[in-house]
Amino acid sequence: MRVNFTVNGRPQEADDVWEGESLLYVLRERLGLPGSKNACEQGECGSCTVRLDGVPVCSCLVAAGQAEGRDVVTVEGLADHARQRSRGGSEGVPLDAAKGWAAKGGTDSQAGEGIELAPIQQAFIDAGAVQCGFCTPGLLVASDELLEHNPNPSDADIREALSGNLCRCTGYEKIMDAVRLAAARQSEGV
């Protein structure tokens, strides 16, 4: 079958999709967007979390056909998503301020100097919340969604919001730090 949907603001078309394929599979294997991860493929780990019409979902549990005509945001589109939100002028940060979060201090070849990141992405790097990084894309999408509707979450709020995202490396402390940092920067308008 053919599936049409919007991914990170761009219309996408996937052909020859087998009916059993998940949204995750189509993103990763047909659309060249492997950022959403495949840690369990059974809806337990959250590494494949994407926004489907704004709602965070495990894309491994969404049949590709269910995405027909809908709007998907993945980790690859998170920076654009955050930028548009801030342009929208709701409760986000102004565009100029957002530029202040661009990767800094990257003196190594892999640091990706000059890439503009969403505030939550920069906070994960700065706080040391990334180790192997396999849980990171899903956690970023979930954390960004949390801060979108709750700009000043308590620690218990953060834990509740991220309880569907497993991490095996960090013990979550630095992930807590990262979300707190992003929230603080957001409220200060840094």
């Binding site: 493929e41 192997c132 497993l166």
Partner: protein, 794 residues
């Protein structure tokens, strides 16, 4: 080559930004947060096929027949291979003992053993084809524990053993046995005022790394193959893969792709050989990605163990002796079992002074899932048991458990049960003091202005209590772990370092085969290069087999050993750069010949701070590059009868204090805080150090209260191979983890550093158990603790 472990001149590099001791950020961080970092499961190739493994549905059986005809007939299927299709006489592999069949031959020895492999144009086609392969089994009795393994009529898991351990074990179902005898335990026991005995059970833990086993094998024009793979040790994989394929090692090129965690579970091969076989058979690139279900069958687990301990002490609180017997279940294949036995025995009494010991550790062959390396490697199981014993003794003696431990704590100069002196700082008593001195979380921490926040209570959002029946407990534990490969293993690493001017700036390139699995080795290598070469720009070359072996990303060893290799190579490059400088500019300034010269901030400077030249001018268009192996101090094998020998390179220590709250009516546990103090020698990257300690602590928490692979004792089949049924801690299960980092230099190690990754995994588990015992008054001799153990309904 310079002598190993020469202490670093503190002057070199201290003036360079981004060097050692700073919390520089990960060089791969941006790629990882944007989704662009290419993990092994993200690999893609034009025209690639998908591989699928058919695994045994029974634990122990003869294979009567395999019929692949229907699978081969399925449209989209390119190849089906069984044992009979293997290309050479080498049909087994293994880390130490080559006892693991690439594909089952005549017999399967555990549930989930690979029997056949399929390549097809879609993963679902491959799965359906694998399901159409008909395998007829004739089931055999299963060996599942010590009793069934060592009975007089026991079936042998491996009938024709010819490995080097068979000569010193009492039974062919014992992989390896290591006794350690020192002093006279019987005589010392007679002096004891108090003796406590205990039998302990440690459940089977899974590494549960999030990135599934996966990789892409691409056939090459010269008849070889290029494998993009997530592993812990490229060269160890290569050594095992090439002979099975019938290829020389140079025709099997290996590149490390992104690794989504490892924790020991990627020391053994998983899909490597299968992907290469299918690629060479079909002439097409083949990708294999396990799903989570298969991942539970696709790698070894932590050895479950039975531990039998006897400790004695005098009335004034000094240990007299320890007798112990540790029985590790190695499962169907050897994997790392022999080395795990070495660790379990040599570290079995913990970080304490005991002169009279009688120790035995064995690993069994059974039909349970194969067990091997996992973070903590044999020291974890022992720590759980000896720390429970220490609490029991303290209670019998009426002593505070921390004070009792401190009275018996080892220190620098203590002789291990193996006879090896501990020749670097061992601040065991100090770590306990520090962890005890941390402020405690407030009582009834769940109370808020709006009433009880159930998220802070046992049971959490299930809303099972608002504080009724909830009791707090506090527990302590401390552990000892070896760093690096032990028992005489030639544990070296290799680094290639290049220095040149690019776009008007001096740049260092570091090339090693070290597997970055998430631990942050790449961050540290760049820091070392900056410190040693005085440059700002460092490029970390992708890890591959085009450079010498880095050894395994295991045993808390990579910062020590590959870090040491990078440091050593940088020092040699620095000397060559200075030689070039002397040649070009030596006649202009006498300091070139007389002063101690440093590289800092892109310049050659004297130790007095005088600038002699820019590196750009020294190097011009010349590049300095060299590749060197580096070794730490050699170790010795343990004597097979007495266990004596200087078997370990370095020891690592951590202490934990756990605060738990237990709903005693429902048997639910909430860990409120898990504080850790650890000596790290020198924190090369403090942010990463704390991250390692917190992560290790959390894996220890997991096996204390939730993580266990359940194997049916009647069938030896795994009952919970999924994240639905095998639970690892979520962010709601994990408490705050305050960390106190101590830095006492080990003069034998580069920069005085100590390997840190594993020690926090040891003491975390017994600290949580001690806290639960403290809260409930129950004895609790097994881990993980489940609700039924607390409510008496087990």
């Amino acid at each position: 080559m310079p002598a190993n472990g020469v202490p670093t001149k503190i002057t070199q590099g201290s003036g360079t930004k981004g060097g050692i001791g700073e919390s520089t950020l990960r060089p791969d961080g941006t790629l990882k947060v944007t989704g662009e970092f290419a993990y092994s499961s993200d690999m893609w190739h034009e025209d690639m096929l998908w591989g699928q493994i058919l695994r045994s549905t029974v634990a122990h059986a003869e294979i009567v027949s395999i019929d692949t005809a229907e699978a081969l007939a399925l449209p989209g299927v390119y190849a089906v291979m069984t044992y009979d299709d293997l290309p050479t006489e080498v049909k087994h592999y293994g880390l130490e003992i080559q006892d693991t069949p690439v594909l089952a031959h005549g017999k399967v020895r555990h549930h989930g053993e690979p029997v056949a492999i399929v390549a097809a144009d879609h993963p679902e086609t491959a799965r359906r084809a694998a399901a159409k392969i008909k395998v007829e089994y004739r089931e055999l009795p299963v060996i599942t524990d010590e009793k069934s393994a060592l009975g007089p009529d026991a079936v042998l898991v491996h009938e024709h053993r010819d490995d080097h351990h068979i000569g010193h074990v009492d039974h062919p179902n014992i992989v390896h046995r290591q006794p350690i005898v020192r002093g006279d335990a019987a005589a010392a026991a007679a002096r004891a005022d108090v003796i406590v005995k205990g039998e302990y059970t440690f459940g089977m833990q899974d590494q549960a790394f999030l990135g599934p086993e996966s990789g892409l094998a691409v056939p090459e024009e010269d008849g070889g193959v290029h494998l993009y793979i997530a592993t812990q040790w490229l060269h160890s994989d290569l050594r095992q893969i090439a002979p099975v394929l019938g290829l020389p090692e140079r025709k099997v090129r290996m590149t490390l792709s992104g690794v989504g965690g490892a924790f020991g579970g990627r020391e053994d091969l998983s899909m490597q050989i299968h992907a290469c076989l299918l690629a060479l058979r079909t002439g097409k690139p083949v990708k294999i990605v396990y799903n989570r279900f298969e991942s539970f069958f696709g790698h070894v687990h932590r050895h479950p163990a039975k531990l039998y301990y006897e400790h004695g002490a005098t009335r004034d609180g000094k240990l007299t002796h320890v007798r112990c017997r540790i029985v590790l279940d190695g499962g169907a294949y050897a994997s790392a079992s022999p080395a795990v036995v070495g660790n379990a025995s040599s570290l079995s009494i913990g970080p304490y002074v005991v002169d009279d010991v009688d120790i035995e550790a064995i690993a069994l062959y059974t039909n349970n899932p194969p067990c091997g390396a996992m973070r903590g490697f044999g020291a974890v199981q022992a720590c759980f048991a000896y720390e429970a014993q220490m609490d029991k003794l303290a209670k019998e003696l009426g002593l505070d458990p921390v004070e009792f431990r401190q009275r018996n704590a080892m220190e620098q100069g203590t002789i291990m049960p193996t006879g090896q002196p501990v020749d670097s700082p061992a601040p065991v008593a100090e770590l306990l003091r520090r962890v005890k001195a941390m402020p405690l979380p407030p009582e009834r921490q769940w109370e808020s202005s709006e009433g009880a926040d159930v998220r802070q209570l046992p049971g959490g959002l299930s809303n099972t209590t608002h504080g009724e029946g909830v009791v707090r407990g506090i527990g302590y534990a401390v552990g000892i772990k070896n760093v690096g490969f032990s028992e005489g293993f030639d544990d070296y690493s290799t680094a290639r370092v290049r220095m040149e001017v690019i776009a008007g700036e001096p740049v260092a390139t570091v090339h090693t085969a070290m597997a970055e699995v998430g631990q942050g080795g790449v961050t540290v290598h760049a820091q070392i290069a900056r410190s040693e070469l005085g440059v700002a720009q460092v490029t970390i070359h992708p890890a591959d087999t085009q450079v010498g072996s880095a050894g395994s990303t295991s045993a808390s060893r990579q910062t020590y050993v590959t870090g040491g290799a990078v440091k050593n190579a940088c020092e040699l490059v620095r000397e060559r750069v200075l030689d070039i400088g002397r040649r070009k500019f030596g006649s202009y300034h006498p300091a070139w010949a007389t002063a101690e010269l440093l590289l800092e901030g892109g310049k050659v400077v004297t130790d007095g701070g005088e600038v002699l030249a820019d590196l750009v001018d020294v190097l011009e268009d010349e590049a300095v590059e060299l590749e060197e192996e580096w070794r730490h101090r050699p170790t010795e094998a343990f004597d097979l009868r007495t266990g004596q020998g200087n078997g370990h390179v370095q020891y690592s220590f951590a202490a934990h204090r756990a605060v738990v709250e237990v709903d005693t009516e429902l048997g639910l546990v909430k860990v409120i805080e898990l504080a850790c103090a650890q000596d790290v020698g020198k924190a090369l990257n403090p942010l990463s150090v704390v991250g390692q300690i917190q992560g290790g602590t959390t894996q220890g928490l997991g096996v204390a209260v939730m993580e266990e692979i359940i194997v049916d004792p009647k069938t030896a089949k795994v009952r919970n191979p999924s994240f639905t049924d095998y639970l690892i801690p979520t962010i709601l299960d994990t408490p705050t983890i305050p960390v106190d980092v101590l830095e006492l230099a080990d003069e034998h190690a580069p920069y005085g550093l100590r390997g840190i990754g594993e020690a926090p995994t040891l003491s975390s588990t017994p600290a949580v158990l001690a806290a639960i015992r403290n809260a409930t008054g129950l004895e609790l001799n097994r881990t993980p603790v489940r609700p039924e153990h607390l409510t008496g309904t087990a």
